[in-house]
């Protein structure tokens, strides 16, 4: 027997990354912009999607992929009730979505009739950050009751973001949340990050997000 060292130099998630690239190509070929929406459980991801659908008022055609660890269709049912196509992906206990699951979801959506696909990732601030799904941007929803220390405790998820939404600003008078301390942590991880403080419940601040989103979708459609 003889021992031989074989050079590999391959990223551990290379299989996922290849699948993500295929997903992105598929979306681009249909002129669709796509968002990977991440947050902790209870931050308001589904409410945020529903409010986005309502405010866009059919000016953009939206499809939604809902990721959950449990075999439930609670979130997808809400989206469908709001009049948009939705697919529920159950990860079977896994803590995050992967590109292959996103691919399954895309195959079940009417891609010819969509401008925007929103992927609601599993509620978790750790694992979803490590997997590229093939969406165009990562968006995180932080919410005021979670506390102002989250950027310091979950730095990885903040690094890969294009947009940060701070939800439940209407609860600020009732909980301790130092916005300056929160923003300082975000600034260290992702300097100049586009941030929308808003409230899904009262609607405060939502207009700016909608305006930004429409601009992004149109810009993407002109270049792809």
């Amino acid at each position: 027997m003889s021992a031989i060292r074989v050079p590999v130099v391959e990223k551990i998630f290379s299989a996922n990354d290849r699948m993500a690239e295929l997903n992105r190509n598929l979306l681009n070929s249909h002129n669709i912009f796509s968002i990977n929406l991440m947050a902790s459980p209870g931050a308001g991801k589904t409410s945020f999607i529903l409010e986005t659908i309502k405010r866009l008022n059919h000016s953009l055609r939206i499809g939604v992929i809902e990721g959950d660890t449990a075999p439930v269709t609670i979130d997808a049912d809400k989206i469908i009730a709001a009049g948009m196509p939705a697919v529920q992906i159950n990860t079977g206990g896994d803590c995050h979505l992967e590109a292959s699951m996103m691919s399954d979801g895309l195959n079940q959506l009417p891609l010819d009739d969509l401008d925007l696909v929103i992927v609601e990732n599993v509620g978790n601030l750790i694992c979803p950050a490590a997997w590229d799904l093939g969406t165009h941007i990562n968006v995180l929803i932080a919410s005021v009751p979670e506390g102002d220390d989250k950027p310091y405790k979950y730095p990885n998820i903040y690094r890969g973001l294009k947009v940060l939404v701070v939800n439940k600003t209407d609860l600020a008078p009732f909980v301790k949340f130092d916005m300056d301390y929160f923003r300082q942590g975000v600034e260290m991880l992702n300097p100049g990050l586009v941030t929308f403080p808003l409230s899904c419940r009262t609607g405060d601040g939502f207009d700016k997000w909608i305006e930004w989103l429409i601009t992004q979708v149109h810009a993407h459609q002109q270049t792809s």
Binding site: M1, S2, A3, V6, K11, L189, P191
Partner: protein
């Protein structure tokens, strides 16, 4: 966090490269993991022993080359290493920094055994 999934990916990569090199057995796997990749070595080793059973990777040793997280200040270009928590630039106090290293996450190489060809 998701060590099982990570370990499955490592096994897949190792097996692919081992087969391409006509390996009879894989004895060592060399991984390069940045400090910012939150992976627990012991967990990966635990899953590894379990999932590599009955493959040519069974019993292979995992070597973790941990790369420290290094940052560069966007304002003054000072380079510094992250100790435990996020910190402002120790030179000028700026909050705006960029990562130089610490995000590595790949299989660097594997060590394999081949049957020595018999002479004559």
């Amino acid at each position: 966090m998701h060590e099982l999934s990570v370990t499955e990916n490592i096994l897949e990569i190792a097996l692919t490269h081992a087969k391409a090199s006509f390996a009879k057995k894989v004895t060592d796997i060399y991984l390069v993991i940045g400090q910012l990749s939150s992976i627990v070595d012991d967990s990966v080793q635990f899953y590894w022993d379990y999932i590599s059973e009955n493959t040519i990777c069974a019993g292979a040793r995992l070597h973790f080359n941990r790369i420290p997280a290094n940052f560069r200040c966007i304002k003054c270009n000072h380079e510094f290493q992250m100790k435990n928590e996020l910190t402002a630039c120790p030179n000028c106090g700026s909050m705006q920094t960029t990562i130089i290293s610490g995000e590595e996450f790949y299989v660097d190489s594997i060590e394999i055994e081949k049957e020595v060809e018999k002479s004559i």
